[in-house]
């Protein structure tokens, strides 16, 4: 199944809907170890991304859509997740530059590019208790399972993201707002990792 511009537009719709549905829970998670706004920021960001994607002409290429979504997300949000997802989406756009329709491998490359963008922007490493702890294993799993087809690759990504997010519970944060909590952050899932699962699951449902 090839992924065209319309599918990418639809993907932003799915992500926006799913994030909106999880908004309160994400705010609640952020309230425990952060500042209680993560659900708001994510829902604003993906709503803006969806609208920006929808506003482009029908013949816009995937890269243009991803770039427009990145810019819209960033300007609607700021915060931590703004630069992180904006960079992720711009890198996704760069990864598929020049293509009108994406092969399965391109989609997997897009996911991997997003994870790398988050890492580079946030200077996060594995185990820092951030969204990167969901995105990194997701990208790795998708890449590893790419040969088995997009459906399996994206399912593997989702499963790995979920496991990665769950694992942030046992971590002490060393990036982001929770960084100063020390031991008190332990026992609580990182909100950015939790929202990464929502995003990756939505991407799977939309694209695979």
């Amino acid at each position: 199944m090839a992924t065209d511009a319309a599918a990418i537009r639809a993907m932003f719709g799915t992500i926006a809907t799913d994030v909106e549905a999880n908004k309160d829970e994400l705010c609640r998670l952020d309230g425990v170890i952060g500042d209680a706004d993560h659900g708001i920021a994510m829902s604003l960001g993906f709503a803006a991304a969806r609208d920006a994607a929808a506003a482009l002409p029908d013949d816009a290429e995937p890269t243009a859509i991803l770039n427009a979504a990145a810019k819209a997300f960033l300007n609607a949000v700021g915060a931590s997740c703004g630069p992180l997802y904006a960079t992720a989406l711009m890198r996704a756009g760069a990864a598929v530059k020049g293509k009108t329709t994406l092969e399965d491998a391109d989609v997997v490359a897009m996911v991997a590019a997003m994870a790398a963008g988050i890492r580079d922007r946030g200077k996060a490493e594995l185990g820092n208790k951030t969204m990167y702890d969901a995105w990194a294993p997701a990208a790795q799993a998708a890449t590893d399972a790419a040969a088995a087809g997009l459906a399996q690759a994206m399912q593997a990504a989702e499963d790995a993201a979920r496991k990665g997010a769950e694992a942030t519970k046992d971590m002490v944060a060393s990036k982001g707002r929770a960084e100063r909590l020390g031991e008190r952050a332990r026992g609580h899932v990182d909100p950015g990792a939790a929202s990464a699962v929502v995003v990756i699951e939505a991407m799977r449902r939309a694209l695979a």
Binding site: D24, C27, G31, V32, I33, G34, D35, A36, D37, G39, I40, A41, L44, L74, N75, A76, V77, G78, A79, S80, C81, G82, P83, L84, R121, G122, K175, G176, R177, A178, E179, R180, L181, R184
Partner: protein, 335 residues
């Protein structure tokens, strides 16, 4: 039950607030061209002066927007509630504040602000504007002394921005302004305590839970957990705990001078803040320190959070001059 607030749509709160601010303070403030969230001082920026751009999330008013004005910040970039502004308004502020002598960014040290302001700085570099950055890290409760650079910036912004803004207004070079800003930050120490949460306009739900007889020591100004939960103590005991930490860090010599800020987080009345100040003064007197100036009030808030912080700035001659330098902002005047 939702928290009660005087709002229209929660999502419109920040932009409507800025409309109301500009309506109230037309002599002081204006929006930068084309940017709803970039607020510029009418009489601040001028050729040859280093521009001072501050900013951060909304919900801390009068920080940041209220400190825009001649003698203090030239512009402030305004984010959503408790969220860093994106690079675009920061860049708009940078362009508006640029007088050809470089621009200094100052903001509290939070991951989101760092990423967004750094992106803006990269964009400003493409416009050939030299940008330096000094992040405030005055919250002694947010990391051990050895990791000062990872601490949060909180109410001490008040002094640190003030000192840097004065340095700009006195037409010092970007190097000098940066040096003074760093010194101001290095010598400013804050410790806070929270009693009750605030709630965000969009969720209208308390942003953390706390027992009816508890306080959180060292809580951040966005409700981030602090050092410890404990039973609510009397005012003097709370201040003593704060001053013990601040005095230990400050390591001032007998006879040294300090400036004091007793800051309310939003719903703690002036009565309680002044009762705290009474104890602050007793402690500083006992430590042999001279108080050069004191501010008491809601200068760096967390919406309607209950609680307070104490900040001491360890003055030297230069910082004293900067603090005494006049400034005329919409929500703050000095000198």
């Amino acid at each position: 039950m939702q928290s009660k607030k005087i709002l229209n749509e929660g999502g419109d709160a920040v932009d409507e607030m800025l409309d109301g601010i500009l309506a109230a303070h037309p002599q002081h403030l204006a929006r930068a061209d084309g940017s709803a969230r970039a607020i510029v001082a009418r009489n601040g920026p001028r050729p040859g002066k280093v521009g001072l751009v501050i900013g951060g999330g909304s919900g801390h008013e009068p920080t940041f927007v209220g400190f825009v004005g001649r003698g203090l910040a030239d512009a402030a970039a305004i984010g959503n509630v408790f969220a860093s502004p994106p690079p675009d308004p920061v860049l708009a502020c940078t362009q508006a504040a640029n007088g050809g002598a470089g621009v200094l960014y100052m903001y509290g040290n939070y991951a989101g602000d760092v990423m967004n302001f750094d992106m803006a700085a990269e964009m400003a570099a493409m416009d050939d504007i030299e940008v330096r950055t000094v992040r405030t890290t005055d919250d002694v409760a947010s990391a051990p002394r050895g990791r000062r650079e990872t601490r949060r910036g909180v109410a001490g912004n008040f002094f640190i921005f003030k000192a840097a803004g004065a340095a700009c207004d006195r037409m010092l070079s970007l190097d000098e302004v940066e040096r003074i800003a760093r010194k101001a930050n290095d010598r400013t120490f804050t410790m806070g305590v929270a009693l009750a949460p605030c709630s965000l306009p969009q969720t209208r739900r308390p942003n953390f839970d706390i027992g009816g007889d508890e306080m959180e020591i060292g809580m951040g100004i966005h409700g981030e957990p602090g050092i410890a939960r404990g039973p609510l103590k009397p005012a003097n005991a709370i201040v003593d705990e704060m001053l013990d930490a601040i005095l230990a860090e400050m390591a001032a010599a007998q006879g040294d001078r300090v400036a004091v800020l007793v800051n309310g987080l939003g719903s703690t009345p002036l009565m309680e803040l002044y009762i705290m100040n009474r104890r602050v003064r007793q402690r500083l007197d006992a430590a042999g320190l001279a108080v050069h100036a004191t501010w008491v009030g809601n200068w760096c808030t967390s919406l309607e959070m209950a609680g307070a912080s104490v900040t001491c700035m360890h003055l030297d001659e230069e910082l004293t001059t900067m603090l005494d330098h006049p400034c005329d902002c919409a929500m703050f005047r000095a000198g």
